[in-house]
Amino acid sequence: MSFKIPDDCRYRETHEWARDEDGSVRIGITDFAQDELGDIVFVELPSVDERIEQGEEFGVIESIKAVSDLYAPLSGEVLAVNDDLVDAPELVNDDPFDDGWMLEIEPTDETDLEELLSPEEYEAQTV
């Protein structure tokens, strides 16, 4: 089975993605991660204006069978949260890179993105 790994994202080893959107950065989990978890039924995320720190837990995702922590791919202040996930957490299964996004942040240091895995490096890890 092959998983989507969009070229316009950078990745963490723990299967989160980050995508630069003209200064702000969107964050979510990868296609591989949603497939591993199975049916996602609950996502717990920080609120707008809270800070997240690179490499630290910023939330929790639960599927029917498992609970997993979410790790921040970079540091910053939360600008927006995908509220659609409250009533439709399955969006993370259906469309992990677009409709299933989790946070939009104002990164503390945008160059932090460069420390993350490139699509090629991430793909090598998931094979």
Partner: protein, 359 residues
């Protein structure tokens, strides 16, 4: 220790199943998605490879006596072709396992076949042999787990599906077992299951597993859906909702007093008679969370501002779309409608005790 693999192991891997360790076996946990598989069983039909379940055969002049003295139910009430749910208890009345006992149809190789849970087959076989020796009973006990394949076909359309593969499956009544040729394979067809739906469990020579599995054209289901289905039905999972080491419970606490017949002389009978007289101090209850979140095994249950128990099973119910669970609480908190709380990541979420089954 290497994992035991079911006869269909390669077939499942080829079908793209995710595999998991369960009871020492490598079993499919998910073929497509738990929700898809769960829904198939609730609305139409699904098939489960349950070859990890144990099969122990008991025969000989004292077979009935041995079965009756090592399980909590009244085995003497069974006629050939009957099935019965029971617990296996120790001298203190603590549940070691739960099982289904089949008194096999006339003409079968053995008189009794019973099905301990995955990974319990060796110790249960040894227990039967040890007590047969101690009581000087004339029986033969065989651990036939590796010789049997077992597939559960469950759902409202299960009997229709089987009707195309064998003679009159619908004439086999609930909790009975009859021989049938299914897709040309000699099977025991039992009208039993663990999903809360109608359906059957098929037992056959392990070598015929692929023929039976492929003839059953319906949604393949893994242990993930089996767990959500049994939990909605309020059925116990051995080793999780009770465990002689980590969570010793008697059948009355676990809500299966219906499977105990104190009129029979089984191991643990006297201890259980004492419990029956006073009633258990704690009971397994079902609950539903009133806020978003999911209760999981091991989470604390609180009532009146204090810890009162522990969640033994919990999930998001695919049928109800709400978080449900099981756990033991003191009897004063066990009535349906009682408000309790479940601690989810250090936050106490309100929950309400609910009558079982959920579905």
């Amino acid at each position: 220790m290497s994992l035991r693999t079911p006869p269909l192991g390669g077939t499942h891997a080829d079908r793209g199943a995710k595999l998991t360790e369960f009871g020492g076996w490598e079993m499919p946990v998910e073929f497509d998605s738990i929700r898809t598989e769960h829904t198939a069983v609730r609305e139409s039909v699904g098939k489960f490879d349950v070859s990890h379940m144990g099969e122990i055969e008991v025969s000989g002049p004292d077979a009935t006596a041995l079965m009756d003295r090592l399980t909590t139910n009244d085995v003497t009430a069974l006629e050939a072709g009957d099935a019965q749910y029971a617990a296996i208890t120790d001298e203190d009345g603590v549940m070691l396992d739960d099982t289904v006992v089949y008194r096999l149809p006339e003409g079968s190789d053995a008189e009794y076949l019973f099905v301990p849970n995955a990974g319990h087959d060796a110790e249960t076989h040894d227990r039967w042999v040890e007590y047969a020796d101690r009581w000087d009973l004339d029986v033969t006990v065989e651990n036939a787990t590796e010789s049997y394949g077992m597939i559960a076909v469950q759902g409202p359309e299960a009997i229709d599906l089987l009707g195309g593969l064998c003679d009159s499956p619908g004439s086999v009544s609930r909790f009975t077992v009859e021989p049938r040729s299914v897709a040309g394979v000699a099977c025991l067809l039992a009208r039993t299951g663990y999903t809360g739906e109608d359906g059957v469990e098929l037992l056959f020579d392990a070598a015929d597993s692929r023929a039976v599995w492929s003839a059953l054209e319906c949604q393949p289901c893994g242990l993930g859906a089996r767990d959500t289905l049994r939990l909605e039905a309020g059925f116990l999972l051995s080793g999780q909702d009770f465990d002689p080491e980590t969570n010793p419970r008697n059948p009355y606490e676990a809500g299966i007093g219906f499977a105990v017949d104190l009129g029979t002389a089984f191991v643990g009978r006297d201890a259980l008679a004492a419990v029956a007289e006073t009633g258990p101090e704690e009971e397994l209850v079902g609950f539903r969370l009133a806020e978003r979140g999911i209760a999981r095994h091991g989470y604390e249950i609180r009532a009146d501002g204090a810890p009162v128990g522990t969640v033994t099973s919990g999930t998001m119910s695919p049928t109800l779309g709400e978080a449900i669970g099981l756990g033991y609480v003191p009897v004063e908190f066990a009535d349906p409608g009682t408000e309790i709380g479940v601690v989810v990541r250090s936050e106490t979420k309100p929950a309400v005790v609910e009558e079982l089954p959920f579905y």
